[in-house]
Subunit: 219 residues, 2 copies
DNA sequence: TATAATTTTTAGATTAGTCTAAAAATATTT
DNA sequence: AAATATTTTTAGACTAATCTAAAAATTATA
């Protein structure tokens, strides 16, 4: 058996590794989990004993094949539940995350697959994040950050890097939501802010905080 | 905050009191929770400290108003999720119970109410058990056990008293499912078995184990 | 390459939930 | 009502997950 806490650590390690692309260190995990470094050391020993991670003292950790299987299964369940909450129950994209954090821990051999069929085999969650298949595979998105686009580039808003409620509510307020059309009009090197045309109608100046956390699919 | 374990104890106490109708004793709780009497004593002290139950040493416990509110909220969530699992995801009535045991612990101010609307405000779960409203009220069913019916009585199968997977699967196998029409043809005092006419078509002899655990709505 | 700074681990506690074994209280039987 | 049986509680211990404070290892700096 694996506890909810153990699952959350594996997911955190998976996400940090996805972002940084190397062996994950203790402090990064404690920051992600909001615990102390000492708690992380205790937990990674346990996870190593259970063969979910490879661990060398002072050298950080990597997921084993089994650890990665658990982590991607959690991501699949999380994103699937988010689709359910938004599409079927009318939650907004900033509300569904916290509920999905709970629902992803429901233990069942086939609940997520039934949900998949019921929801029409969705490929992306409401934030534009891809949903892994049963084997844990998913296509990395063909996209770039708004802040990395060049002058005149056009595209469509497909997702976010930062998932905090505050950030998502801000995006709602300024109208930069999923599927919005974006053209880069001007880039201000001074503070990395970007002026864009939104949905062919209005002009909008967005801060670096926004441009560095919003994914655009070019084309 | 209340833990999942604490919630399960409150639900157990609620259900035992519903059945027995008096102050609930330690051994009954330990039997229901599959723990030892010592563990129960520890836990009821905690629950009494938190004002979920009234507790007098050696005298058993009763739920406080707040404890009853928590318990009926759990019952509401449990039965609502069962409707979702059966109606929307195609689970059978014997499969949905265990999953609902997990789902009932999801913490959310309004998830159950949104589910309620999404499912069309159901009044009963797939086993025929009534779903409490937001205030925890629900009509006791107008029904009796098959084993208590008289010769010639007619009615419709509306629920079960025993919820074990084995029992529900047995009912499926013999065709005595929710909404089946029932007429009492013969009662064998010797072993309390009952011969019934099922759905106006076939005759069926059911054991006392079945007749004493199946609810029929007369009429 | 020593020294300083940072990161990680160890040591020792704490809380929730559980257990077994024994003691205490209550209930039943003779 | 005394003896016996049953139920309940206490005492003491264990595991999972967490913490603070201090020690050890690694990395950066002078």
């Amino acid at each position: 058996m694996i506890s909810q806490t153990e699952e959350n650590y594996l997911k955190a390690i998976y996400k940090i590794n996805e972002r940084e692309g190397k062996s994950v260190n203790t402090n990064a995990i404690s920051a992600a989990m909001n615990t102390t470094a000492a708690s992380v050391t205790d937990m990674i020993k346990r996870l190593a004993d259970k063969d979910f991670i490879n661990y060398e003292k002072y050298r950080g950790v990597t997921l084993t094949t089994e650890g990665e299987r658990v982590a991607t299964a959690l991501v699949r369940k999380h994103r699937m539940w988010e689709v359910f909450l938004c599409d079927k129950l009318g939650y907004s994209w900033d509300e569904c995350h916290d509920l999905a954090e709970q629902l992803e821990h429901i233990q069942s051999a086939d609940l997520v697959d039934r949900l998949d069929s019921f929801l029409g085999k969705p490929k992306f969650d409401p934030h534009g994040d891809p949903i892994p298949d049963r084997e844990g595979n998913y296509a990395k998105r063909q996209q770039m950050l708004l802040g990395e686009m060049a002058l005149g580039d056009k595209g469509v808003m497909v997702g976010v890097q930062e998932h905090s409620t505050a950030f998502l509510q801000h995006l709602d307020r300024i109208g930069l939501v999923l599927a919005a059309k974006v053209v880069v009009l001007e880039i201000f090197e001074f503070d990395k802010s970007v002026k864009i045309k939104l949905n062919d109608t209005m002009e909008l100046l967005v801060s670096s905080k926004v441009s560095e956390n919003v994914f655009i699919k070019i084309g």
